[in-house]
């Protein structure tokens, strides 16, 4: 098992190098580069002289491949993602600061999607083709169709117009006020989890219908077990194995959704960091954030694969 994990992690390296290369190059090709931005902000007329000085100071005067290998070398040998071009502080520090917040938001959204999606999916499967099943399926399509950013904007705007209340835009750290902190994250987590709970529900329903047709469920019925025991002990575990895969497949979309909702709810996580960095063309920060997202997605999928071992005895005994 340890060898398997090691091999998976090693196989990840070329992928990440390739991905970082693409990010590294494309952000530098974005129109409006950082030098223009800095010069315009400092209200200095863009004389040729200062432009070249600035480029040299930021290390942007060398060819792109040189810049890339320098960056890669610092990452491999010093574990450094470089410094922010604006603040000159290490990108790694900023990311380590922001990552837990996004992680928390993602986990909460995931919990919402599983806690809502799985029971409703099971219920809809057991009541297949009844009114209840149709209503739940219709709701799930609605939940999928309503965009999270739209809902998030509504939540930010309308309560303040109607009741003079709006979600706090000042971030409440967990250490200061744990409950306030969790409440602040709850709304974006609900909105982020909404679409995933709809997908989870539909998948759970389909899989439960499939499992309930299996011969071993008939055996369980022939033993005299109640529907509750059959579902909890015999069906759910087998139905949930693919649901776990879904979690892995959705990891990327979850991160993408978090980026948008952090922006709307002003939550200082990785998403907000990325948007700020893109706005200010802070190349090392952008590359660093994408790299961490990439690593996160790969690790989530590794965890998913490993969790099969616990759910599926055929894999465990291999």
């Amino acid at each position: 098992m340890r060898g398997y994990i090691l091999r998976r992690v090693l196989a990840l390296i070329p992928t990440l190098i390739f991905a970082s290369l693409i990010v590294f190059v494309t952000i530098r090709l974005m129109p409006g580069n950082i030098i223009d931005l800095m010069l315009s902000q400092n209200d200095v007329s863009a004389s040729k002289q200062t432009r070249e000085q600035l480029e040299a100071a930021l290390g942007l005067d060398t060819p792109m491949y040189v810049q890339y290998f320098k960056w890669l070398g610092a990452l491999v040998f010093k574990g450094s993602l470089g410094n922010s071009l604006w603040t000159n502080t290490p990108v790694m520090d900023e990311i380590l600061h922001r990552l837990p917040i996004t992680f928390e938001l993602g986990i909460m959204a995931l919990l919402v999607s599983l806690v809502v999606g799985i029971p409703i999916g099971v219920y809809a499967a057991l009541k297949q083709d009844t009114i209840g099943d149709y209503i739940l399926r219709t709701f799930s399509i609605l939940a999928l169709a309503i965009p999270g950013f739209w809902l998030g904007t509504l939540v930010m705007v309308f309560p303040s117009i109607w009741w003079g209340w709006s979600p706090s835009v000042r971030f409440i750290p967990f250490s200061q006020d744990p409950i306030g902190h969790l409440l602040q994250l709850a709304l974006p987590a609900l909105i982020l989890g909404k679409a995933f709970s709809a997908i989870t529900m539909r998948l759970t329903r389909t899989l439960m219908l499939e499992v309930m047709r299996q011969d071993y469920i008939r055996t369980a019925k022939a033993k005299g077990l109640s529907v509750g025991t059959i579902v909890m002990r015999h069906a759910l575990r087998n139905a949930l194995i693919p649901v776990i895969t879904l979690v892995g497949l959705q990891a990327g979309a979850l991160i993408g959704g978090a980026v948008i909702l952090e922006q709307i709810f002003v939550i200082p996580g990785m998403g907000l960091l990325l948007l700020e960095a893109v706005g200010s063309r802070d190349y090392p920060t952008i590359t660093g954030v994408f790299l961490v997202f990439g690593v996160a997605i790969v690790f989530i999928n590794l965890l998913v694969d490993l969790s099969y071992g616990f759910l599926d005895p055929k894999v465990r005994n291999r």
């Binding site: 071993y216 055996t219 022939a222 033993k223 005299g224 077990l225 005994n317």
Partner: protein, 325 residues
């Protein structure tokens, strides 16, 4: 004589509604005495499994439902019980063994749990005791190394071993009746005989009655006391196993007999399968449903439906042309 353990009377089970509806079990009646082995024989699609599932009230609904008849078990009509009352009987007083050992066990649960489950449920024994019983049961079905195998999962066993596990599971609560639906069809020929011997021996020990469903008349001869032959959802002949072998009366039964390999037959002699297709239940011919395939068909067979009639006290058949009183 005491009352039979199970009396099935005019059982009818249908699938679907309207013109496409199919009568999978059509007005079927039979008895099973305590401790005896009754074989139900017939081609694929003749309604054997549906009969078995009807007894346990496990016909998948929709599309299936029991539309008529009584199933009196130990003095209780099972068709009148509610789901909770029925659950108390399933796995406890009537147990079932299914045809497909490879898929009938839950792949993600240990076999100890799966065998202990009915004991825990019906006998209200704590899990630890249920596992101890499960171990004894595995010993009884001759599973080597029973104690350590309790923790194994189904995929670690061969088909024959899995069917032993199914038998252990069926025996768990010492049921009065075990229904075995083609328990050996999916297994190797050599394993088939072992499993049937085991089943026969264990039911003899516990005094359980056995309904043995098969399409193999050869099996019937060795293991059954009495036989019902089914065709197109109906019982078309019933007799003691000995009688049926000595003088099969219905042309369909005789056709089945002719298709069994016999040891006293010269080697190389071709078996004669019954010509024609099993009937389409949605479009049965008028009169006797066997008439398109029957070699002795007469005019009356295309007009009137033959019901079971007596040839003698214990031997009944549904054929106009066979001798009857």
């Amino acid at each position: 004589m005491s009352k039979p353990l199970l009396q099935v009377r005019n059982l009818t089970t249908k699938f679907g509604n309207g013109p496409g509806a199919v009568t999978a079990v059509n007005n079927v009646s039979f008895d099973v005495d305590a401790g005896e082995t009754l074989a139900i024989v017939g081609e694929s699609g003749s309604g054997k499994s549906v009969t078995a599932l009807s007894i346990l009230q496990l016909v998948p609904d929709p599309p299936g439902r029991i539309t008529g008849g009584e199933i009196v078990f130990d003095g209780i009509d099972l068709t009148k019980l509610n789901e909770d009352e029925m659950r108390a009987i399933r796995g406890n007083r009537i147990a079932m063994i299914f045809q497909e050992p490879m898929t009938s066990l839950n792949p993600s649960l240990t076999i100890g749990l799966q065998i202990g489950e009915p004991i825990n449920l019906h006998k209200r024994l704590p899990w630890q005791k249920a596992y101890d019983k499960a171990k004894e049961l595995l010993d009884r079905v001759r599973m080597p190394d029973a104690r350590s195998r309790l923790a194994n999962h189904p995929h670690q066993f061969s088909g024959g071993m899995r069917q032993r596990i199914m038998i252990a599971m069926a025996l768990a609560c010492q049921p009065k009746l075990i229904i075995a639906d083609e328990p050996t069809t999916a297994l190797d020929v050599t394993v088939q005989a072992q499993i049937l011997e085991l089943l026969k021996e264990l039911t003899r020990e516990t005094g359980s009655a056995l309904i043995l469903i098969t399409h193999d008349l050869g099996v019937v001869a060795r293991y059954a006391d009495r036989v019902c032959v089914m065709y197109g959802g109906k019982i078309i002949e019933t007799a003691s196993a000995l009688d049926l072998y000595a003088k099969p009366l219905h042309p369909y039964t005789r056709g089945l007999m002719a298709s069994i390999p016999r040891l006293d037959q010269p080697a190389g002699l071709r078996l004669v399968p019954i010509k024609g297709q099993p009937p389409n239940l949605a479009q049965l011919p008028p009169g006797c449903s066997f008439n398109p395939r029957c070699g002795e068909v007469a005019e009356r067979c295309r007009r009137d439906v033959p019901e079971l009639m007596k040839a003698d006290d214990k031997h009944m058949h549904a054929c106009w042309m066979a001798p009857h009183v």
